[in-house]
Point group: C2
Chain length 140, copies 2
DNA sequence: AAATAAAATTGTAATAATTACAGAATTGAA
DNA sequence: TTCAATTCTGTAATTATTACAATTTTATTT
């Protein structure tokens, strides 16, 4: 399935900009922020406006085609992988990595029994990634 | 232990402002944002500056006396309870509730084996709280 | 194919959260 | 009491995000 059809499957009308942004999200698993996407696509679409990037990602999130991550304190990041998974942000280089997520049914049941309706599960870790650990130890 | 000694135990020099802010954090489990704290303490300390609230909470987080939550997209929230626990934010009223957290040792081991050094574990849920669910069903 | 209506995009201006910074106030030590 | 260091304050600057009106593009109707 191409990106055009992929957008349609989420009830999103495809446009040049929307296709380019979704394509970027699907091909780059860097969990990009607005600026990263804007800068990356600006070469191909010189008329692209940052407002469009904002609007488009908001649309994607509303339609379930992308997820917004609030892990980074500075600015929101976006993920085209909508499957259930956790994240790891390196405090040193700032990169966000995908991690497996095992949902704990006991916790879920506890919340449901208390009357909470759980719609989203977010799980992330912070620490130092293997690369930065290596670089840091090299300096000593 | 009073708040004065509590701050000292985290290597934080107590001051009128710092004591008031930490006292607020320890007594109110509402996961307040900067504004909530500023407005609440303004009556007692009319000279309090919002910059001081920012600086103080940054200091608390650096010393491990508070945790910053990036659950709410609008602005950062703070938690004086530094023990390991999860959170639940209601999409309807915006309130953040404490939830138990059971750390999954398997996930931890997976990351450690891959070379990641895990320093923080964050887990939160979004959905509708019991109160809002009740109010919503009443409207029908 | 031309005219029209609807939707999407753009750029600028406004808003809001956060940070930088310099001066004032407070604290602690000599 | 004096001096130095620290903390606090208020304003200005910065940055991310949103509002909005004008323009462009797309889809529909005639």
């Amino acid at each position: 399935m191409n990106v055009y059809e992929y957008l349609l499957s989420y009830d999103i009308k495809p446009s040049v900009q929307r296709i380019a942004i979704m394509d970027y999200l699907l091909k780059h698993h860097t969990h990009p922020c607005i600026d990263e996407i804007y800068i990356a696509l600006h070469d191909d679409i010189p008329t692209l406006s940052k407002t469009t990037v904002y609007n488009t990602l908001k649309l994607f999130v509303e339609h379930g085609a992308a997820k917004m991550l609030t892990i980074d304190e500075r600015n929101a990041c976006f993920d085209g992988d909508t499957s259930a998974h956790a994240h790891f942000q390196c405090k040193c280089c700032g990169r966000i990595f995908d991690m497996p997520m095992h949902i704990n049914e006991n916790e879920m049941n506890e919340m449901t029994e208390k009357g909470f309706s759980v719609e989203e599960v977010h799980s992330y870790y912070k620490g130092v990634c293997p690369e930065c650990r290596k670089n840091n130890s090299d300096k000593n």
